[in-house]
Symmetry: C2
Subunit: 222 residues, 2 copies
DNA sequence: TGTTGTGAATCTCTTCACAGCT
DNA sequence: AGCTGTGAAGAGATTCACAACA
């Protein structure tokens, strides 16, 4: 007698790649809306996103929205559907630890962007950086992490501290009840299996570019 | 009469994922060396990198290095081999455009890290941000991009400007002869096919974390 | 006609499992 | 005994190609 709630509606589990692309599509679609475009074909969205039309259609299948043959997708409806699929209906708050250049950059990026997902507190160990507001986000001393996270019911952590401090911050986050971490420190974190970690490794990204750019040079030379 | 140079030695083309992991392994191995560890098994490296042992061995196969059965890999030799494989032997310079918080963070990350890969010039349109040195890197006005890129033979570009300026910066980079771009702006760039672009989309990363963290909550609740 | 939605085929990446080495 | 290197199997993601539809 499985009691399947509507959100759990028997959809196949969706891959990480698809989630990333849906986030991208949504952003592109918002841009279109602001230019008063209101319908789009998979083909055109694919072009904008640098993907194939078939892939766009598959990804959209995952959210459970349907377009109309010959008229494509209604952008407004599609954005709403993606939102229903991606966003936690209750909204989600994030806590950022490490108010250096990178931390500030990330705060800037997100200030007042999405109602369902925002950085609601920032932390640092340096008293000179705390007790004020940066990009609309209040800053606290790291010692207050647990209190603030539990008070504000924060579920997401963002780590923008140097590598040597990252593991200890991750541990504090997990102890405070955070269940997803975006990690910018260039070391893998050890966390319990039920905590989702996404590494954003800037060094790795640049080394990849260097490698493939190098290949481009050799091939151009042939 | 194909004249195959030693570097082109008939290896299968290596996947993007493998390149990324090799960059990670190298970083982990440097850490071990600094702790005077000098041999390692695929199994242990896998544990550190959060991968399987088989995958580590496959990735190392790609660089053409061999360990010894029962004694594992010599870390020093392995680091050198990965370097020979990943790094352009001539070294590579990168140019960063956009000296905001994110730009400074990226400059910090790379200042004096790798001899074969460094950010050798930074650019902005704001005169208050140029004509000085940040994290050992000289800063110029964006108008000088082409001159500096060609003077210093720069092949890699890093875009840390706001979304609305990114496409125009990318175009300037391509015109200056850059053939690989690391893009932090949250829009896909349109560049010629022979230019490699790696998008580092911070918004997408955070939305992914939010999605999977949300899943963790629902599953914990069941 | 020109689009979507999707089963099936294909392609790519990962893991298995074991021969061969030390 | 215990590791590496790797062919082969397996999983997963992408693309093909076409029926159904407006």
């Amino acid at each position: 007698m499985d009691n399947v709630s509507p959100e759990d509606k028997q959809r196949p589990p969706v891959s990480e790649r698809t989630i990333g692309r849906l986030s991208l599509y949504r952003r592109l679609l918002y841009n279109l809306l602001s230019q008063n475009v209101d319908r789009i074909y998979s083909h055109d969205l694919a072009l904008m996103a640098g993907r194939t039309a078939a892939q766009v259609r598959r990804d959209i299948m995952a959210v459970g929205y349907s377009g109309s043959p010959n008229r494509g997708y209604d952008i407004h409806e599609l954005v709403v559907s993606i939102g229903l699929f991606l966003d936690n209906p209750a909204g989600m708050g994030a806590a950022l630890v490490g108010i250096g250049n990178l931390g500030r950059a990330v705060l800037d990026f997100f200030s007042g962007r999405r109602p369902k997902l925002s950085i609601v507190a920032a932390f640092d160990v340096d008293p000179k950086k705390t007790l004020r507001i940066i990009s609309e986000c209040p800053c606290y001393h790291l010692d207050l992490l647990r209190n603030v996270v539990q008070d504000k019911n924060i579920r997401i952590g963002i780590i923008t501290v140097p590598a040597h401090a990252a593991q200890s911050v991750a541990q504090k986050m997990v102890e405070s009840g955070i269940c997803g971490i975006l990690n910018f420190a260039p070391i893998p974190l050890r966390v319990p299996r039920n905590v989702y970690v996404e590494d954003n490794d800037i060094t790795m990204s640049l080394e990849k570019v260097a490698f493939f750019a190098g290949k481009n040079i050799s091939e151009a030379a042939k």
